[in-house]
Amino acid sequence: MFTRRAIIAALSAGVAMATLPAGPSFAQDVFKVGLILPMTGPFASTGRQVEAGARAYIAQHGDTVAGKKIELVVRDDAGTADQTRRIAQELVVNEGAGALAGFGLTPLALAVGPVATQAKVPAIVMAAATSSITEQSEFYVRSSGTLPQSAVPVATWALENDIKKVVTLVSDYGPGIDAETWFTREFTGKGGEIVEAVRVPLQNPDFAPFLQRVRDASPDAVFVFLPSGVGSLFMKQFAERGLADAGIKLIATGDVTDDDILNDMGQPALGAITGHFYAAAHDSPENKAYVEAFKAANKGMRPNFMSVGGYDGMHLIYAAIEATKGDTGGEALLEAMKGLSWTSPRGPISIDPETRDIVQNVYMREVKEVDGELQNVEFATYEAVKDPVKAAAASGN
């Protein structure tokens, strides 16, 4: 027994030394951005893309703006909300971070709300996509997009293109239910019919039973939202089960044909129709430069819609500091961010001054082979789409 006591005695001393304050530097000309992302766990690829996007921005635009040196402090929250909150708090209190950013999933973003409000620090949502996030604190600004923003245009497009009967198939969690609700609302509101609504558990290895359900309902099309990695598995099984041959079209939000892994999906992905705010194949000089810089810095990895959230999030911070001429107070930055508009790799975007949510084009794309690679090729554009949830609330629907 006494060995343990000896350990404790030694330990207590060790703890005292290990936790000594590291003496954070509060140099006037350094502006720290606390980037909190899931770098490990099931959503690690989100974290990797967002970080790479943010770093690409700094590489392109230099690390100094209006006399301030921008410093990224990257931390891993492993997709756990209480970690996100603790890290956010520590970054603000101990590191003196002037802005928080990142947040791979909705609960992770929501957990930071009270910290941002209490510390008056802007929190830039670079990936999480549930509409309600920005309503939880005055200090959230979104640089990614919301799911309804992509889902509603897909519904509009489907109706315009003779799709009348649809089965929805979504992951059974917040964003999935958001996508289902808003797709259904738009689709049935304009005369379409939802034959069946299938929800797939998040931890689900095999899609066979769900796909069989879809097939048995024989709709014109199936509308799908699944997080990106799982989405690719779905595509393969969709093809294997012969749903396409049975005349069922696949329409989806862009998560399913994530640019990061689209090229590996091969044949089964061809012809899938998706609606989303960014495609690596988007044709503009801004995007060409971005894709090239990104690939060069990341061993040929293709940027996806999450990376562009990180990239534009950094632009928000840069532009705001420039506008305030170096005043890095949280409220001043926030005011400067509201109403900003610029041309991003994804096209023209702006920040809605009322909701602090992003306003952007949503493109309809089809998966095609371009120069030997699979790409989301844009063929139609819905311009300046606001988050439909807040738009509906504002107009009293």
């Binding site: 558990p201 931890q203 095999d206 066979a208 990695g229 690719s232 598995l233 044949q267």
Partner: protein
């Protein structure tokens, strides 16, 4: 719906191949090896690398995945696992979880965190319609391979000399050694074989279950469920259990999708309450 039954059987068979290596280490050698999924993941990644970077045919990848993973298993058994056979279960859990963590981070480092995809040969994709029953070609392929494996395993364990040696070594290592059986070698070979099976399962499952660095954690639970429900005293137990769980899971999700996710857990807890040593265990209820 026979299609659902067919899909369930295929899924169950896949679970069996993935889990039967664990039955061997856990049931026969009494080692709680939570890192079993890491071996399966290794098999999957070997297949992905061989197919996508070197253009090796899928059929060749399967035996290669088996052999390479078996070799990895052998090395690890000799260097690390063999020291822990007599250690408390908690040490084994701690050790194998450590191994899982390391494998996850290492794979993330070398291959990246995204989902890995393979392209099946053309003749394995698609499906046939036979009397209104949809039969996926790849799923049929899995069923055939797994059924053959199950039969071969059962025979190897009960009818061959090595099988008897193994069972003797497990029942009473000291006596077995006294009879001239080289117990460490028997254990090492068995462990390697079990790991190899996991590797094969990983290679076969990459198409259906997906493959990313979190594979070992995500599927560890499923393997454990198969083994506990099946009982650890034979190969037939886990085989039947895997089939039962596969069918219950697929059917549950098809007919009652609202509670689909609960079915597999509920079945397990129910079985364990009624028969704490597994459905098909020799001890029966105690």
């Amino acid at each position: 719906m026979l299609t659902i039954l067919f899909d369930g059987v295929a899924y169950g068979m896949l679970l069996f191949v993935l889990a039967c290596g664990l039955t061997i280490t856990l049931g026969l050698m009494n080692f709680i090896n939570l890192a079993h999924g890491a071996f399966a993941m290794a098999g999957g990644y070997i297949t992905v690398v061989l197919m996508n970077r070197y253009g090796v045919s899928f059929y060749w990848c399967l035996p290669i995945a088996f052999l390479v993973v078996a070799a990895i298993g052998l090395v690890l058994e000799r260097t690390l696992y063999s020291r822990l056979y007599s250690a408390p279960h908690l040490d084994q859990v701690l050790f194998s979880v450590g191994l899982v963590f390391m494998s996850i981070a290492a794979v993330d480092y070398f291959m990246g965190g995204q989902q890995q995809l393979i392209h099946l040969p053309r003749e394995l994709s698609g499906r046939w319609e036979v009397f209104g029953v949809g039969i996926g070609k790849y799923r049929l392929f899995i069923i055939v391979i797994c059924a053959l494996l199950a039969v071969a395993l059962q025979l190897a364990l009960t009818k061959t000399r090595f099988g008897s040696q193994l069972r003797a070594a497990v029942d009473d290592g000291r006596v077995a050694r006294g009879l001239g059986i080289n117990v460490p070698v028997v254990f090492a070979l068995t462990f390697a074989f079990g790991s190899g099976l996991a590797g094969l399962g990983g290679a076969l499952g990459a198409e259906i279950l997906g493959l990313d660095p979190n594979f070992p954690l995500k599927f560890m639970i499923y393997f454990l469920i198969v083994v506990t429900v099946g009982g650890t005293s034979s190969i037939t137990g886990p085989f039947l259990a895997a089939l039962l769980l596969g069918i219950a899971d697929v059917a549950g999700k098809y007919y009652v999708p609202q509670i689909g996710a609960f079915v597999i857990y509920a079945v397990m807890v129910l079985v364990l309450i009624l028969r704490p040593h597994g459905l098909f265990s020799r001890e029966g209820t105690r």
